[in-house]
Amino acid sequence: MGKIKSLLGNWRIWIYLVFFVITLLAINPNPFIEGVTIRTVASNSSAFNAGMSSPSPSDAPMSRERIEKINNIPVKSVEEFEKIISNFPKNTTLTIKTSESTYSLLFTSKEKLGLSVYEAPKSNIILGLDLQGGTRVVLQPEKKLSTDDMGILLDNMKRRIDVFGLTDTVVRSSSDLTGNQFIIIEVAGANEEEVKDLLAKQGKFEAKIGNETTFLGGKDITYVCRTAECSGIDPQQGCQKYAEGYACAFRFSISLSKAAAERQANITNNLGVSYNQYGEGYLDKPLDLYLDDVLVDSLQISSELKGSASTDISISGSGAGRDRSAAIKDAQQNMKQLQTVLITGSLPVKLDIIKTDNLSPSLGKEFLANAILISFLSIIAVTLVVIIRYRRVKIAIPIITIITSEILLILGVAALLKQNLDIAGIAGIIVAIGTGVDDQIVITDEILGHETEKDSKYLSWKQKIKKAFFIVFAAYFATIAAMTPLLFAGAGLLKGFAVTTIIGVTNGVFITRPAFAEMMRALIEEK
């Protein structure tokens, strides 16, 4: 009892305890949490109109809005959510109770509802893509960008992703030791292979009649219709079978700005009119649509439009596939991409895809479960070595306490810094723990070793600890020195490893190692 009392009178122990509590608060674990957390609320969907919104990427996982009940039926998993929504009768009222509020809305269809959800997280630890599944695309600009241009580029890409309808997406720039610039986009949870085409497009959209530009994507276009009434598979052309498969046509309408409409009127005014076999009149030159300098479509202009400043234009295009449904899907995908670039305009520079990862969520889950198991067994293995070496079970107690709390401390600081925990990060934790154990062995040996030596009487407790911490700090600085280059190298792909290692060893020397020395003192002095 007196031992614990003397420990509690020590400030080093207090710092350790305070940090431990902060860590637990930061991680905020709750293994009993149920329900599904909202990943995305599509804009203009029924959920959106009822007042629900997508979480911001900066929200901590545990503070995101969670769906608890739908019409009083508890929702415990994504499967249950899908089941409830799929079996729901159309045109009835849906009451969604979430962790924050209750929403009522008219349910028309699953698509219209616009909700995508994922299993409610059980703590604030943000898992990296390789542990939770998702898509990562690394792009490299063709030429070097200034900080301002990079900002414009990132904003535009974020807007593109938003318009396209993906959230829980991180867009950031990165660089490497030689100053190469990279843009990294991570879409969590889902396998969204189709985004990579969208992201890599510069999206320079140009409409030309002859050699003259009539309008450009972005600023010249005031409205792009995306509702079913004026966009979708073209009902007149539909799908056609070819030798290789099917091709389907899509169309959607857009509105031009006044200036662009007048420009078009001026250009068409100078064109001649010709008539086809049915007596329909068309202008001599078609309206050519270019996306990234590639001709995507050529539209005949009706003779009625000659010289008129019409602001409404119908854009069309097509998609192909092995069978009819694949062709429809492809056409819809192409339409969505074209609509997105028309709304968001073009990027200031061309981008090359240099790395793509599609990571399976189920694989990630297995890795995570396995990582927890091996951490646990590694601690046991280290404990056995310590017990065999010192022949005293008692010495193992502070060592295990410290190792376990060090893992929690790393996770807590990572959660506070909103640093993703990926597989490289787990490796970093293992290294930090290894270094921690090494330090503890050094401290233990300094304390116990001098006990048996003749000169131990002349060494005070402080001197022993000073000797041990000389080694501990040298090792600390050496580790930091080794890890720092990794923070900046190679597009930051191993950053997770360096960050967790640095967090771990820093926690170690400043928080847990001093506390460990005190615990050892309490254990030894008692004798």
Partner: protein
Amino acid sequence: MYRLSVSIIFINRTLFPRILVKLGSKKSESGNRVKDFYIKEYKKLFLIPLILFLISGAILFNTYNKTGEAIRRDVSLKGGISVTINLGYDDMPGLEKFLFDKFPDSSIHLRTIGSTNNVAGIIIEASDIDEDALIDAIKEKITLTKNNYSVETMGSSLGDSFFKQMFVAVLLAFVSMGVVFQIYFKNIYATLAALFSAFMDIFITLGIMDILGVRLTAGGIAAYLMLIGYSIDTSILISTKLLKDRTDEISKAIFGAMKTGFTMSAAGIAATGVSFLLTNNTTLKQIMLILIVGLIIDLLTTWIGNVAFLRYYLEKKHGQN
């Protein structure tokens, strides 16, 4: 390919405690003889890490002659596609032949997760190949759903520059650790000895990895960085004991430090050994394998190599022994 290394761990996990106990127990005759030899013949013993170092150099040189590069890299450092499939499959040779025939111009490697008899997953690495074509071909043999496989592609330019930068990162780590060491000990001889023993450790481990047929991944480079850290840790320990706070005769100081150092390595090998045997992730598996081998080699490079340097230095300087 991993089986050999597994047995290494087992030997060491059982041997280690015994060595430790021996060092700690009352001196037995044979124990004394080993200790006497270790203390007296340290220059002869230095031949052990030196010969391993030279053999490793020969192995890496041979690989360089055969492949044009001394270190064989996987797609994460070279560019290419890696497909991880989360399913068991019982006809690996069939799958291998199918893919080789289908893509004769590409370089394709197949690996399995789990044991030979119980394949839990498949990893297919390929370069000079189209991603969609590869996935379509695999689909002819294995049912892939949206959820049961991962595809990672690395552009060859990024892979190459990543490898070069990691190389630079390792060099920088060496230099900055040397600076830290020099500031701490203010003894250029001790600093160079520590750096050289860390370098020997990495170099010999690279050679052993080459023999085991392990291709270096991005995660593997992280493991080598860690290894430098661990190796420097033990060097700091021995340098402190021999140069900074020596009150005892040199053999006592060495054996005292060795007891601590061996416990540190044993703890490290135990933790990485367990992780190596049980992990289902190939990145972690490679990191752990490199660490296990490296920690074992570090025992030689530190307690024979580094100690020999320091003793030679002390002898020359003070005539101490």
